[in-house]
Symmetry: C2
Subunit: 431 residues, 2 copies
């Protein structure tokens, strides 16, 4: 395919006309598809139905230690759920507290607690003139929304193929005491699908924060979300790395089973040092008398251990991998070599991140919507929704059926080409 940038104006006009005809044809199909969020497909939710059978009216609802999960108590989770989460994260059960169904809620509470009460004796952030968080970009919009809600200043850190730019991270963290945190999705990152390299994790562990209450917010949302068990990526255990580096309290790790079992009925957890957990537990003790332990038990009775989780995640992988391939093949076939966009083929996670020509993302998303395809808003992957280059678009292939996904990919690539051609033509007009 001829690259757009070497086309003459006449060629570009012809291309534009062809694309407009093609777009009109697709639009006529009347697709109505919401690809805005990383939602599991119905097929994936069906994988978990047997979990509903393990606790019925004849079941023993006591924990392995003989505690009745139906009653109050066991504030920070039942022992077997801590162990299961520990196996999922590759950390000791002692480092785990199990909460309700949402890891985002744990992160929110962690920031909220720091605002009103500080971190293990530090000044409450609401009493400080300025609190800053580092935000690797592109990243997860809901992380940024939490820090924005609390008036925390967000600083963009560019992502590299090995994780966040660690020179920049160290520069900020080691010198600015207002920097209190960094949002990370370290494995199969949202949206790029990048797994932080061993070196990146080691450099995190060796940070020398200017702020005593600096913490790494390690959202390991996709820890078991490989697309192929035999081609999965490994992430160094940051809790262990920080402990070895003599800074055991520097990290909070989060995860949930929302994208393992049911997005609307999983369990969520935090893993951290004993000191951090003890401090968090003081707040937890005021918030609640205990989370849903019956659902914690249901999880453990169903999955049993990491082997059970992996068997289950292999089903998800088998469902998701072809979908990712459909999108990637569409991108390769239609956009490969055109120099109007770049993307990474991820080994896991829920997204494909697309970089358009500068200044085109918003227009591409708007164009796709014209044909009935709702994508994540352009800019959403940046703090304050502000992608200064207007180039990043998050593609979420999980929810549509394969058939829908083919049409959706067609809409997307056609929109990319059309907007890119328009941009080039208008650039020529402006010469």
């Amino acid at each position: 395919m001829k690259k757009y940038k070497v086309m003459s104006k006449t060629e570009l006009c012809q291309e534009k006309q062809q694309l407009e005809e093609r777009f009109a044809d697709i639009k006529a199909k009347g697709l109505q598809l919401d690809m805005s969020r990383g939602k599991p497909a119905v097929e994936q939710l069906d994988f978990g139905m047997k979990m509903l059978d393990v606790l019925n009216s004849t079941a023993d609802l006591n924990t392995e230690t003989g505690f009745d999960t139906r009653n109050y108590g066991l504030l920070d989770g039942i022992p077997e759920a801590k162990r299961l989460i520990g196996e999922i994260l590759g950390v000791s059960a002692e480092n785990v507290m199990v909460y309700g169904n949402s890891s985002l809620n744990i992160m929110y509470d962690t920031v909220a607690r720091s605002m009103t009460h500080g971190v293990m004796g530090s000044t409450p952030w609401c009493k400080l003139d300025k609190v800053k968080f580092l935000c690797p970009v592109p990243g997860y919009d809901r992380h940024f929304a939490v820090t924005e809600h609390f008036g925390i200043e967000m600083i963009n850190i560019p992502m590299t193929p090995k994780g966040p730019d660690m020179d920049m991270v160290a520069e900020y963290v080691n010198n600015d005491p207002a920097v209190k945190g960094i949002w990370c999705v370290p494995k199969y990152s949202n949206p790029q699908g990048i797994t932080y390299s061993d070196e990146t994790v080691e450099r995190f562990a060796k940070l020398q924060p200017a702020a005593e209450d600096f913490r790494i917010y390690w959202d390991n949302a996709y820890v078991q979300h490989y697309l192929d068990f035999n081609d999965k990526e490994e992430l160094v255990d940051i809790l262990g790395a920080c402990e070895k580096a003599g800074q055991p309290d520097m990290v909070y790790e989060f995860c949930s089973t929302s994208k393992i079992i049911f997005a609307g009925g999983g369990i969520a957890a935090m893993a951290s040092s004993k000191a951090n957990l003890d401090y968090a537990k003081k707040q937890m003790n005021l918030q609640t008398i205990g989370y849903d332990k019956v659902n914690q038990l249901r999880h453990v009775r169903y999955f049993k251990d990491i082997k059970g989780i992996e068997e289950h995640m292999n089903l998800h992988a088998a469902s998701l991998k072809p979908k990712f391939e459909t999108v990637l093949q569409g991108l390769d076939k239609e956009l490969g070599g055109l120099d109007i966009g770049t993307w990474i083929a991820p080994k896991g996670g829920y997204f494909i991140s697309f970089e358009s020509l500068t200044g085109c993302a918003k227009a591409i998303v708007a164009k796709a919507r014209e044909a009935g395809l709702v994508m994540t808003s352009a800019g959403a992957t940046y703090p304050y929704g502000d992608d200064v280059n207007d180039s990043n678009i998050r593609i979420a292939p999980s929810f549509p059926t394969s058939e829908e996904l083919k049409i959706a990919t067609d809409i997307f690539v056609t929109s990319v080409k059309l907007i890119s051609v328009q941009k080039m033509l208008s650039a020529l007009d402006n010469v």
Copy 2:
């Protein structure tokens, strides 16, 4: 029985000696019983086991509106769960949002949100010099713990047989703009079992708060927790009363199914005006993508409607009523007419509140513990744990078996008598 206060010193000494012998006998039984919290008994938890059968692997997990509860979305609860909670509280489903498993957590979040973000546009409380809450006493220790955690000054309001002293409430609320809230357990109150009278509720609705962000925190924890369906008390719907009084936004109402189904696996909800719910939902939208909707659905499929709830609550009543009677009969028989304590026979709820002679509560609780009976700490029913009269003791009859409860009651009344005699003797010595 002869009143202690008319006994001579010799008689008191004899009584003391008899009581000490009796106490030694009971102590020798070696009871180990924790009556410190209002926990449901195993029998009560068993009533709910069939709820675990309604959602199995062959069940349709869609809401009545066709929404898949297994997936993300429906932030503020599934429609049928809102309706069920509405029926429990006697309010419209439109006024209900359903959260996770803990109403205490909703209350905590509501106060936390007001601290950092204010209430519908008001100044965040953390920016104010002083924030105050009114606390009807005796009351629920976990309410007081939340406001204490946020540095909110708590003001004691005496309870009367009709609810809080409303003259005092009105005096504070209508004149002091620092008063932002009042903690209420309006039906079968914790710990006294008092239901607020119609007049009390009407007076609440007619408050003219000096603070625009004053709210009534109406923890209707025991709304369906009568001890006898045919002898249940009625509470005026405060949402309706406030709306009629032209102040629809003045109240947040809370409830959960923790003491209906499983203390460790229920659902919780807030009922309020549309404006209050919309404001709360803004925060909720940052905290989570949604609560456990599968468990919401499980509840509705099992209970169906208020009739199902009432059938279920009749089982609880049949279990609890004899336990309350055991304690009350013990109190009547052993302490009646002695003038060393008062109590109310409640028609519902989870507690019996005992008022000892001034300065005796801590010693009675300590004495009972000597014999293996752990009760709620004396003072816990007051803000800051500070019962200036040292007289209130909360008795929680639900968890023990009937046999245990008889011994526990014996320990308690003997402890009350012994400490009271000791106090009288020491008063005589000090003359």
